[in-house]
Assembly symmetry: C2
Homo-oligomer: 359 residues x 2
């Protein structure tokens, strides 16, 4: 029996925060940060396989990463790779995927997930997603996953829950911006706020309808291609029209406006791995509280560092604590963990001096 | 007209102080520390060429560096490379070179110089060495070069001068061990003390005579080979006898005992490059007082560091001052300059954990 469940993995990010370990031609989602042999993208793919058949898994990415996708997910059929000709944030990406899937399967339900987050507790994840599919298949709902907040994180958006409509699933009361620390503590203590993980479930028809209501500029554009989606001319239609989409996030375009938005409160481990500190916190540290990926480390009076190096490199470090040391072949970065928000500026400085050479 | 002037470059050192940039299979003297395209050995060779014809330049090294010598000094004839089958410090090395040269040219005068020091002011060096040759050709003297001390260095031995015997050349009053800082300051202020650079000039016959008088164990051994030196059987004689030489320095074996020892007060720039700090002090620093060999450096709040990396590597460093950062392919060392005396211990720790892998 053909499954009507689909997965859309969003894989177009070019984050520079992990530079020099992530590069313009190999961003974060393609990197095996944990030395497991699988990149974040591959882990995202592996994670959904028990729920969605592989012929229903679709990866949306920027055209320039096509060969990386084929290399990392050789089992993916060519027609399941959607190549965006331009970067336009999540709303156009999700709209395209929804139109594409709906054209092939009008009964389709879908989960949309980023490719560059880390999730632990795979079975909990599977149970949660399965419950989510059942909910949106029975309801005209836009469902988002809310993560039980384990610390007053100021780097994430939060979702405030309203009344429970079915066990574990609540109406969304509000989406909030990133709070300051004081407010984040209040959020966590209240038990009413969950982290916004940017993972969504809905039927293709339901999100298309919501887009029509809340972002008609976008649907006006995609509706012109209704005869193309799911056919040989889809690619030509996208190449001629996608760039015209205004860049917009799905949160802003739909989720914060619609009234059929629900949140499933999830208990699996989650991080967007948006910072070196998050990477540090999610990695196994040695007896000196140093984290090493690739490196053999001998340390003297050195704690709390994170070393990312080529495989099997020996790092001997003395009198260095709480630093990021990233050695990526032609670039070596040494930077206090507390200064990681400046890496973006550093990357800009590198671009000014060396153009694209080290990026 | 055949020149009777010879040069012996001592090239057998295996110093681990510059690990991981210097390695057991490529020690300090073979490294191009300054990015000039010439290693310290090659610079030593180039420096003496205006004074000593190349057929009279002899390199003494450990057998395991034979191929490195041939690679770095391809113009050197095979018979001018003396390969020690064992490491026995400078006295046996110099004795062999003196017997070897004397067998070929009984009138030979010679300069003996280390291969891993840095000398600046080549013309001053040439003038000084030429004056030295003239002195020892006219006198049965053991001449050492004393460097005008420009700071109260505690890492060097000092030579106290006695009466001047000819302009710029004095009788040696005493050789001293490495002084503490207070004493070193007194030495420098006195004007009577000079750094012992370990560069010697003498006639081959005169040093052989001095060795007979002050280290007869050594000459007893070498005298057995008098029929072999300068012939096809020299190599066999050395392979059968050299290891029996007790390890000893020429300073201890002869210079501190003989009464015909003189010092020429030299004015060229000299350092034994025995420490990373010496390397730092002798290198051009950028506007942030960082020194880089190989690296392109972008620094933020970082001063006084020394970066040794593969050519053209980009180093981005934030909040790091007065560190040694040495990136040598399979090893990365990050260590405060003040801790460099511990590098030897680190190398031992590496050997304990990884055997020879990273050495």
């Amino acid at each position: 029996m053909k499954s009507h469940r689909y997965c859309v993995i969003m894989c177009g990010g070019v984050g520079s925060r992990f530079w020099p370990f992530s590069r313009e031609d190999k961003p974060k989602q393609f990197i095996d940060f944990f030395g497991t042999g699988r990149s974040l993208l591959q882990m995202s793919y592996d994670r959904i396989l028990p729920i969605v058949p592989k012929e229903n898994i679709i990866v949306v990415t920027n055209a320039k990463y096509a060969s990386l996708i084929r290399e990392q997910l050789p089992e993916l059929e060519e027609r399941n790779i959607l190549l965006e000709p331009a970067r336009r944030n999540t709303a156009p990406c999700i709209a395209w995927a929804a139109y594409h899937i709906h054209a092939m399967d009008p009964e389709a339900s879908m989960i949309v997930a980023p490719s560059d987050h880390l999730i632990t507790g795979e079975q909990t994840f599977c149970d949660c997603v399965t419950r989510g599919f059942e909910f949106i298949e029975a309801n005209d709902a836009l469902l988002t996953l809310g993560i039980n907040p384990v610390r007053p994180e100021t780097g994430y958006g939060y979702i405030q829950i309203g009344p429970e409509v079915t066990p574990g699933i609540n109406k969304v009361k509000t989406f909030t911006e990133k709070p300051n620390l004081e407010l984040a503590k209040v959020f966590v203590d209240s038990g009413e706020f969950f982290w916004n993980a940017g993972i969504f479930l809905w039927r293709a028809s339901v999100i298309i309808e919501a887009l029509h209501r809340y972002d008609s500029d976008l649907t006006d554009l995609f509706d012109k291609g209704l005869a193309d989606f799911g056919t040989d001319t889809e690619e030509r239609f996208i190449s001629q029209n996608f760039e015209a989409c205004p860049a917009n996030s799905i949160d802003y375009a739909v989720m914060e406006k619609a009234d059929n938005v629900y949140v499933e409160c999830a208990r699996f481990g989650w991080t967007d791995l948006g910072t070196w500190s998050a990477l540090y916190d999610n990695s196994q540290s040695d007896e000196s509280a140093n984290v090493a990926r690739g490196a053999q480390v001998i340390s003297y009076g050195s704690q709390g560092n994170i070393f990312l190096t080529p495989d099997d490199k020996l790092v001997v470090v003395d009198g260095l604590s709480d630093y990021i040391v990233a050695d990526a072949d032609d670039v070596l970065l040494i930077c206090p963990k507390t200064r990681e928000q400046h890496i973006k500026q550093m990357v800009n400085d590198v671009r000014m001096r060396f153009d694209k050479k080290y990026l």
